[in-house]
Point group: C2
């Protein structure tokens, strides 16, 4: 008879969970030892738990099934919490396994003892369980799998005491059935049809699972037939886009701009999405971004089948045979001369390979990315769903493991990258086909913007220093080399293009440090025309207000 | 009238809290802006929250007063959790300030919204409070300060909603009185006196605050007068040691060895310490390490004044005039030839500067450190109180800020260093006088030991790969240079000595990567004689058992 850890491993593999992102300690040693009992299980080591959890998130977004994690007690869970938060907000399935002391050892309050369940509830409100015995372990595991991969997906945390893991006499459990989510019912569809036909300006806000091709095509048929506007949530978990797919405009991060996008909407239909709210609160500004007088209704909740619900709506509207409008192929051309963040985005648009996975955590430096890549070859976009920075490099790691045949391009801000820079080592160890571009502008640029937006404009030198990453300026090329990743530092567009072409031609991990020493005002000046162009129907008073807001 | 953040800043500074270790985000921007309103407050930026919290821990251990942290919502707290755990287990005072969304914004469940209080309870079981209004903020702050710096010290978490921070009309509160802890009462002292005089083998186990000079001298007088044995807890928060101070043997990390140390004790007297338990549980082994039949009593709890309690005991025993035995000055001599972990420890013993602060997170590589530095010039030792690795570099950062006139030497395992490697950047930015030695053995060595100890000896290749940090081997010298820290990679004793001499002669941040590619068996063989020599009174059967256990 296998021990607990061995039976757990078989239960996971039988249910199709075949990757474990790990950073183990002593209490997880039997789990580690059991890896060799299950040939289907691949263990991917991370040097820091935030890399493991972020990789599990990125993996599940691309594999459409959960990976397991393996974390070391409450402290390991703490280190992994920020990226589990991003997964929770993205409704991403993860079977989050946290080792614990042997059940009889907890009474002694040894050094690593802490209240793990309490921490876990922050990211796993729907499923936290400490397995009480070896006999129950596999049933607990199945329950965790069911919870994780249900609708909506979630982080299910299974706490695994060492003695439950090493105990003998466990029996693996058969895999649970696949989930079978419901479709929007007739009354809901009828109400949405009425809204669409009301003559009022209507938008479908797509989020969660509804940003994949089948959903996008159904939504685009509805748009073509009935004139509704299509919007995507501000930070998609995974969005399919590019040439040949319907182009869907994302709600803007800046509440001021989102307000402009939403200003004329009178009927807002939610599909696995929430009504838009501002990312942060600002003194004297509204948090809820839906205009007064706009009706909000839900076609499909995160518990439901979005594809079937959108197709049912299309059929009810008679739109199921309509020709969806598709994004034509279009590249922006290569940038030239001294580098800037905008030019990096242009190069990405020009050079993005076929069928790439694009991970965007470029923050301010990525403002033009959407526009520049709109007509690039079709790709999947992964974004920062929970706002906890440090997600990009780990997410790229997991995405590359889920899709070994696809190139991954990660665009990361300098500040963001340093939360989980250890991901580079895992990329090197596993020889993953990930190209990471770090925008080095030597500042927490977004916070300079935010310092103004919260009305704290009279910042003194100590405050400004908190947003400044100079003294010393980080050298990401050296950091990458120190972790075994091929790297290059570029300061001109020509160098960048050469580095990207080399990286795409030579699969494996690469890091390109793009030095983009721009002032904030310069950034603002550059992005303004693109922002305005991206919203062609902007009413003049709003455009003027936006210009004033964004002017240097 | 100041806003909330400004009054908070003044309240902190009036209470002597003059350093804030920060990694802010948008919700903390008013706190950041308020830094310039309070000239006494120094803000130290970290690139990762675990650096900020670990630095606050190291600072408080050396400054004997709390620093503040500034963290960004639940995710920032999560990232800082592991080092707050170490602080909690070390009873270290920290005023842990966590920004939150504006109170009216939480209802919208925006991207960064999460249950912060729940996470905070893991590390702040004694004090978690969300300040509800600008008017109450400073009173809440004083309550947090009182909680943090009480007896025992603790991590007090104050959650600061953005609108409470930016609200107008706050009034700073006057500083709270200093704590006044009680002394062991007469009955307790009488009971301990009876134990000491019982003729049974007695030991004083010193922990927490009782490992500083006044307590050590009182305990050493008792030892000299009454023949009791002095022991220190396994992982001291801060221990003063070296030439001219009483030498106190620490309880060993390995339960097998601690069992040997404690085997003959019949009366164990606790001073701000817990009865020893094993760090982890192991199949078939005892967790509680106090021998059967040994009486355990407490002279002073963590709530009490240990110095006065030890002095009261000394007086009651008539030991207050006894001559304590003091450690003579003794250096081990310089190492020569190819480098090993043991030789690094020898070099530290030989070269440690006067009045240094020694931060030990060397794990297996530091096994000989205690012995080698026993007769070095007096120094403070900071250790891994909570077992959450990634504490050493941040702790050294904070210690250097608390004691700018003292050299800090941090000894860190390669695995451990990578959890919070971002601390190097803060050392460079603040030009801190910290020399970090990284032991690069390219493995999680301790886990190789632990894999055996948990009885999982038949490890396969996948299991062993989880403990192996080769492929690629990390280059710490490059990592340090990438963060602006002067660094050198050494492979011989002579290179190491030269690098240490250079670092000690040139104050500022330095990193020395010591390449110590030893096999585990070689490590075991080398440490065995030292371990045995460190326990001269070892009964022969136990010594033989230990030899068998540690033999290759």
């Amino acid at each position: 008879m296998p021990n607990g850890a061995q039976a757990l491993m078989k239960t996971l593999a039988d249910a199709g969970i075949e990757v474990c992102f790990s950073n183990p300690g002593t209490s997880e040693m039997h789990f580690v030892a059991a890896l060799d009992s299950e040939p289907r299980m691949r263990a991917v080591l991370a040097l820091f738990e935030g890399v493991a959890t972020g990789a599990a998130d990125g993996y599940a977004r691309m594999a459409d099934k959960p990976a397991a994690t393996l974390l070391h007690l409450g402290c390991g869970l703490g280190n992994g919490l920020a990226n589990l938060h991003n997964a929770r907000k993205g409704k991403v399935p993860i079977v989050n396994i946290v080792g614990d002391h042997a059940t009889y050892h907890t009474q002694y309050d040894a050094q690593l003892q802490s209240d793990i369940e309490t921490v876990a509830r922050n990211v796993s409100p729907g499923f936290v369980r400490t397995s009480a015995s070896t006999a129950e372990l596999c049933r607990d595991t199945v329950d965790a799998i069911v919870a994780a991969r249900g609708y909506p997906g979630q982080v299910a945390t299974l706490i695994l005491p060492a003695d439950v893991s090493w105990g003998e006499g466990a029996v693996a459990c058969p895999p649970p059935p696949a989930p079978n989510p419901a479709v929007a019912d007739d009354a809901v569809v009828a109400a949405v049809v009425a809204a669409v036909r009301s003559g009022r300006k209507t938008a479908l806000l797509l989020g969660g699972r509804s940003l994949r091709e089948p959903d996008l095509l159904a939504a685009a048929r509805i748009a073509a037939h009935s004139g509704v506007k299509l919007l995507a949530e501000v930070f998609p978990t995974r969005m399919q886009r590019g040439a040949g797919l319907p182009a869907v405009e994302r709600v803007a991060y800046m509440a001021e701009m989102a307000g402009v996008q939403l200003a004329e909407i009178e009927e807002l239909i939610l599909v696995d999405a929430k009504a838009p709210v501002s990312f942060f609160a600002y003194p004297g500004k509204q948090s809820y971004l839906v205009p007064d007088g706009c009706n909000v209704q839900t076609l499909a909740t995160p518990e439901q089948n979005t594809t079937a619900s959108l197709e049912k709506l299309a059929a009810a509207l008679g739109a199921d045979k309509a020709q969806p409008q598709l994004q034509p192929a279009r590249r922006p051309g290569l940038p030239r001369g001294k580098l800037s963040a905008a030019k990096v985005c242009r190069a990405v648009g020009q050079l993005l390979p076929e069928n790439a996975i694009l991970v965007d955590e470029a923050i301010t430096s990525g403002l033009m990315l959407s526009l520049m890549t709109a007509g690039a070859p079709r790709h999947d976009l992964i974004t920062l769903t929970g706002g906890a920075i440090g997600q990009g490099l780990p997410s790229a790691t997991g995405a590359a493991i889920a899709c070994p045949d696809r190139p991954v391009l990660a665009l990361i801000g300098d500040g963001s990258s340093m939360y989980t820079i250890q991901a580079l080592w895992t990329m090197a160890r596993e020889q993953l086909n990930v190209t990471s571009i770090i925008f080095n502008n030597a500042s927490y640029s977004v916070l300079n913007v935010e310092l103004e937006r919260v009305g704290a404009e009279e910042a003194g030198p100590k405050a400004k220093s908190q947003l400044d990453l100079r003294g010393p300026v980080l050298n990401f090329a050296q950091l990458a080399q120190g972790m075994g990743v091929h790297s290059v530092r570029v300061t001109t567009s020509e160098e960048l293009v050469k580095a990207m072409e080399y990286a795409f031609a030579n699969p494996g991990p690469h890091l390109i440090e793009a030095v983009v020493p721009e002032s904030l005002n310069a950034t603002k000046r550059k992005i303004l025309p693109y922002l305005l162009r991206a919203m062609p129907k902007l009413p003049q008073p709003l455009a003027n207000a936006l210009k004033r807001k964004l002017a240097p």
